[in-house]
Symmetry: C2
Subunit: 466 residues, 2 copies
């Protein structure tokens, strides 16, 4: 090291020091404000307990649009608006009913629910023999001979040995999403899928499915069955492969309806045309009240803007909260948001999503280039006092995904994932399953990253600005 | 670097590589076994749901001794035994009752419970005016004049802005532990303490208290009040300082009774005289079933030995599980264990405790010298796939504490602490509040550290062996 360099570094040191201290102070303020005078839990209480499940196209979804817009209006942001988007409307109908029939008249009721997007069974229900498979691959091996006229029972469980439960989910969810379309090709009359749940319990877990290119006439009804009942069905099949399965569901698809993304922003003081987006999805499944998926992400995202204001921080860039509509069964809100952004030539520098539950935050997953990732890693020590340690390259989130490109840095909050699939898309995704502190820590963690991203900009940004 | 050194390192490299890979494999096996064929959750189910709360000296505590000994017997360990220890016996009596009286006949019932070790109120209960304080310091300022004849109401809440909730607990628990002894010195007739709970709810949280050197005749009854009712009482006092508080409790101290630490061990193959201890405490408070505090720590500690056997690992050192009796109100089991170890000249090289709830493990806190801590830090990368990131110097645990000295490395498992005080010492410390995966991840994390400690020894150990 030359003497000149040393002198230069010595000169720089106090400035670096001061800057670090400012950041440390700002993060401490953010976390304290979130934990001592946070708003996120109260918002979630209303969304969950006064509104409830918010399936796209439902009355509740519209109530949620109205409520969150009002709340954003009350924060004194620079602008709050609704962005129109057409969304699919699928309704569950009356409560599904199912049983295993071991011999005529001898039945065992089991817990099922229709998968989102499924067609109904015939009016009197559907009864057929069952063929159990461990996944889509097994269908081809079995062939039409063994499948035709039967109900296909997908029973590959989530792998408990995977530490990150989203990996276990990723390894199974093809059964739910494509199971009906694939089974129909071999002449199956219906599909029952083991719930995407790592726990053994009695709750069926719904979720989206698709018939792909399958003509309407060939579509077969698809349901999820609770893990306990999946075990029971499998055991009974092992004893007697001639048992029958009956289920009845009255779900229906209606024409698309008008809905909205709910958006609010604080205008940037230095670079108002550079947009930083933070969001979750406002729609949810209908069985629970959507507290973890994704009421939590919505109220945390709203809280980011409130906490920035509360702590007196004036963003350089425009900070925008987006509550996306229709993540669960269409992603229409996310696509619309990205489409409009493109039309308007908006420059999105960073987009952060929270859609993995309101559990203790562990860190973030990023979708960005190396230069940006290195800058982010340099902030890691700032998060240490808050036990935020997970900073990895990887996915971001479904709703911010369509913003990918043009150097936009994407990220997803990564809360502890162990309990998520106990509640995901099931009747117990309810407010009482959310811990106030965990939710607030998540909001503070998101706000801290948004603050740093706003203050220092993304790497390309800094280069352009010199 | 000399050429010789380089050659030496190159020669060493494959060996280092192999060793690392072995450790990685062993940890993967441990986690997989715990998550796919674990025993800890089933044991906890029995302890919690078939036995229940296990207060020292109670019939349930003896049932727990019997059950866990039987279970250890079934594991094929080299030795299982009971270590006798005399423990205190305090009983709660009939359910406590309390109200706030705003005027004669106008009462509001509130939720209280006697603190462990408290004396009873007079048979007809105790009614007096209340003086609210924010802690022990405020007593002296107020003086006997303002305190005499009154019930002292300690209402300093746990600080929500502290990220680690045990710090918030540490900052308040003096009110519970010493509140009665201190207030009695100023002539108070009773003590009501805000529950050690970060949440607002209706559950009173018990816990140990001490009268110190206070003569029996001067002891005054002490109760915990739920956080919601503490808020209510404080609000009412602000409106009218003449309101009265009534409470009745019939708790009682009996002579000490015989109980036991439950111990099992696998004899070390190379250094059988070097002992590694892992444990939790078998007693619990009586309001819930003690699932988190500390049923979880007990079954995780038992699971450590089972997982080592299950994965085919033959320990070099003697690995011992100790289920300590009477951590909550006496620590007699821990003291006895250390006393006997000293008498026998046993050499304890490492002792690990799990007593912070069965939540997602984040890492460990260590009480050891720098050299050992550095060795431990070198293992940190092995834990990364399991999201175990917290390795800090600090406390270990109450039950392993008495083993301190002679270079024994002490450690405590550090699970996520956010939800712990929602349940701690309250009626909702129950089995349903424990997540199976979180419990199992904790057991695997403990087993992994025990494996590494056994394989590599502590630093002094290695030096002695050359």
């Amino acid at each position: 090291m030359t003497r000149k360099t040393i002198v230069f570094l010595l000169f720089l040191l106090p400035f670096l020091g001061v800057s670090q201290t400012e950041d440390e102070k700002q993060l401490r303020q953010i976390y304290t404000a979130s934990l001592t005078e946070g708003q996120s839990y109260e918002w979630l209480d209303y969304l969950s307990n006064q509104i409830g499940g918010r399936l796209s196209g439902s009355f509740n979804a519209e109530l949620a649009v109205k409520y969150t817009k009002e709340q954003l209006d009350s924060l004194g942001l620079d602008k709050v608006w609704l962005q129109p988007v057409m969304v699919p409307k699928w309704t569950r109908g009356i409560k599904e009913f199912a049983y295993i029939e071991t011999s005529p008249g001898m039945t065992n009721n089991v817990n099922i629910c229709a998968l989102g997007g499924s067609v109904a069974t015939p009016l009197g229900g559907l009864k057929a023999e069952v063929i159990e498979v461990q996944g889509l691959e097994e269908l081809e091996k079995l062939g039409e001979d063994k499948i035709k006229g039967k109900i296909v029972f997908y029973n590959r469980p989530m792998q408990p040995e995977l530490i990150q439960t989203f990996e276990a989910y990723g390894g199974c969810v093809d059964q739910r999403y494509s199971g009906a379309a694939e089974a129909a090709k071999f002449g199956a009359v219906g599909v029952v899928v083991r719930s995407m749940n790592l726990r053994l319990d009695d709750l069926p877990h719904t979720g989206s499915m698709s018939y792909g290119e399958l003509p309407v006439a060939k579509r077969i009804p698809a349901a999820a069955i609770s893990t306990n009942d999946a075990e029971l069905l499998s055991t009974m099949l092992a004893l007697d492969k001639n048992i029958k399965f009956y289920f009845k569901q009255t779900c229906k698809v209606f024409p698309d309806v008008q809905s909205y993304n709910v958006i609010g922003e604080i205008k940037g003081s230095e670079y108002p045309n550079e947009i930083i987006t933070v969001g979750g999805h406002l729609d949810s499944w209908d069985l629970g009240d959507g507290s973890h998926d994704d009421g939590a992400g919505c109220v945390q995202s709203m809280e980011v803007l409130r906490l920035l204001k509360k702590t007196g921080y004036k963003p350089k860039r425009t900070i925008r909260v987006v509550l996306f509509m229709n993540e669960e069964n269409g992603l229409r809100g996310a696509k619309k948001y990205a489409e409009v952004a493109k039309e308007k030539g908006e420059k999105h520098v960073f987009a952060l999503e929270s859609d993995a539950g309101g559990f203790t935050p562990r860190g973030f997953s990023f979708d960005c280039d190396e230069a940006n990732f290195e800058q982010i890693l340099s902030w890691k020590p700032l998060f240490k006092p808050y036990l935020i340690h997970y900073f990895e390259q990887g996915g971001s989130g479904a709703d911010v995904g369509p913003l990918k490109g043009n150097g936009t840095v994407l990220a997803g909050l990564r809360p502890d994932s162990q309990r998520y699939f106990d509640h995901h898309h099931a009747a117990n995704d309810t407010f009482d399953a959310v811990n106030k502190r965990e939710l607030e820590l998540g909001a503070a963690t998101m706000t801290s990253l948004i603050y740093l991203m706003d203050k220092y900009g993304t790497v390309q940004q800094s280069k352009i600005k010199g």
